[in-house]
Structures are given as structure tokens and as C-alpha cells.
Symmetry: C2
Subunit: 144 residues, 2 copies
DNA sequence: ACTTTTAGTTGACAAAATCAACTATTTATG
DNA sequence: CATAAATAGTTGATTTTGTCAACTAAAAGT
């Protein structure tokens, strides 16, 4: 691995940080903050699960997460019940309202990506997705 | 662009957000915060420049930036002099110490990337970099 | 000349994130 | 079994990060 390689990688990281920033900032116009949106995403995809599951999957501080979950419960997005296997934990499930909220910001996020890519041709989009897929595949072997 | 396309893109975004998070968290073990490191990077590469230049290149609030610059000056990393062309602006230049600090965190960041990729073969690394390059090229046409 | 922009600073504040202390369970260990 | 250690989650205090608006001063536009 040469210095130039590293330079390229860091250059891409900076570039992609900006892209992600664009997408993220758009989400911020919704009723939910970025961390909230992330938690909502994880809840939707892992439910029923515990707070620990969420915590490790997005590497969020447990105190912080606890508050986010409390706010979700207060807004009626989330239902908790005592876990039967573990008396310390609660089982988390989104309510109908919670799922609906997730779908809503998920939809908004999708259409923002559509808009971002609207200047690309179908061929370019296909190419880009292929690069993403292969990049992910390669890098998955490296992380962890 | 199909729903599946969008799904892939968002999946990659989540994946890469994690990668970047890994890299960023590592930098945070230095004496500089993430925003500080970014400003230092921009200073190093754009100097001599004005605060405005930095501001637009990393999209940072001018108030926030002003404070970061002030702290850099206080630590002796940054020298300001009145711009001759524009009486409102100052020309920013890193001091020797500032450059040294930049080199130091830059070096640390590079070796962290090396470590992250240490499990990949040279061929895989080359492939990954190629995908990055092409992805960037395609997406550059889309943003803005 | 005057209005409007732009560069930068500052204060007040809000949001995001971290840390440590604490309770209550569960698991491990002698 | 007893009790020590680890884990799940909550809460309070605090720090870091980021935003917003008001302000000064210089520059540019009309």
C-alpha cells in the first residue's frame, strides 16, 4: 500500500463524507433528528429487540439511547414490555404510529436520493451501484 | 431508478457511514476534535486563505469557525495578518507549529487507514481504490 | 451618496454526545 | 449456595458541537 493509495482513500472518504452530509442534512428537515432517525431505522428492522441490540448496532451511548427511546415512547411510537428471559431488559416494538413514522421518513429519504441522482443517466446509476456493491464487499473483509 | 436501486444506495451509505465513523473516532483520540482536524486540514491545503474560504469548503458556521480559528491562534498554530485587498478579512497561515501538528494528525490518520486495510491483499486494495475513483467520478456529476 | 453585501466577531442558546453513579437483575465462580 | 462480577437500563451533570441573531466594519453595487 503506497502513500498515494492512502491519499486516494482519504480523498474518497472526504468526498463521501460530503455526500452523506447532504443526505443527512435533508433528513434533518423532518420532525426527527439524525440520531432519532437512526434509532427508528434500527427499531424497525430489528424489532422485537432490546435496547442493547440497538446500542451495539449503531454504537450509541446507552444513556443517550435510553432518552431517545423514552421520547419515542412518550410520542407513542414505541411500546415496551418486560422481557421474559431477562428481567433487566424490555422488549421493544414499534407501534403502528411508529412504523408509519418510519415509513414516512424512509420515503422522504428515498426521494431525496432520487433527486440527488436525477442528473445521472440510468447507465451511470447502474454503474455507481455496482461500484458500491463491490466496494462494500471488499471492505467488509477488512472491517472488524 | 428502481426501489431496489435506492435500497442498495442507502445500504451502502449506512455501511460507509460506519467506516467513516471508525476512522473519525480514531482521530478523536488526538488532541484535536473532529471539526478542529477538518479546519486544520483545510488551512494546510488552502493557505494562505481567508476564513471565508474555509467556511465554504467545509460548510461550517462562521461563528463556530471564528472560535476554532481563535483557539488555533491562541495555541500558536495559526497566524493572521490583515488582508491588503480586503480590509474586513484576515489572511490565514499556519505557523511552523501548526503545520507540524497537521502533519502529525495526518500521519496518524494515514496509519489508521493502513491498519484498517491490513487484512486486504494488495490486489483487493487496488480494486477498492479503483471503485472509489470511479464512484467519485460518477457521483461528482450528480452533486450540485 | 446611499443602500446592500460581505467578512468576521460575539453572546445566547439548542442539540448531540459523554460520563459516572445508581438500581436491579443475571451470570460466573469459589 | 453465596457472593462477586457482569450486564441492562435509567438518570443527573457536564461537555462538545452546532445554530442563530445581533453587531461592527469594510466593500461593492446602484
Amino acid at each position: 500500500m503506497t502513500e498515494k493509495d492512502i491519499q486516494h482513500i482519504r480523498d474518497f472518504n472526504r468526498f463521501y463524507t460530503n455526500i452523506i452530509g447532504l443526505v443527512d442534512n435533508h433528513i434533518l428537515n423532518s420532525a426527527y433528528s439524525l440520531p432519532e432517525a437512526r434509532v427508528l431505522y434500527e427499531l424497525f428492522h430489528h424489532q422485537p429487540c432490546t435496547a442493547s441490540t440497538i446500542m451495539t448496532s449503531i454504537n450509541m451511548d446507552k444513556g443517550y439511547l435510553s432518552r431517545v427511546l423514552k421520547s419515542f415512547e412518550k410520542k407513542g411510537l414505541l411500546a415496551r414490555k418486560q422481557s421474559k428471559e431477562d428481567g433487566r431488559a424490555s422488549t421493544l416494538v414499534l407501534t403502528a404510529k411508529g412504523s408509519k413514522e418510519f415509513e414516512s421518513i424512509n420515503q422522504a429519504s428515498a426521494s431525496q436520493i432520487k433527486e440527488l441522482l436525477s442528473r445521472l443517466s440510468p447507465g451511470q446509476i447502474k454503474e455507481a451501484i455496482e461500484h458500491m456493491g463491490q466496494l462494500k464487499e471488499i471492505l467488509s473483509k477488512a472491517s472488524l
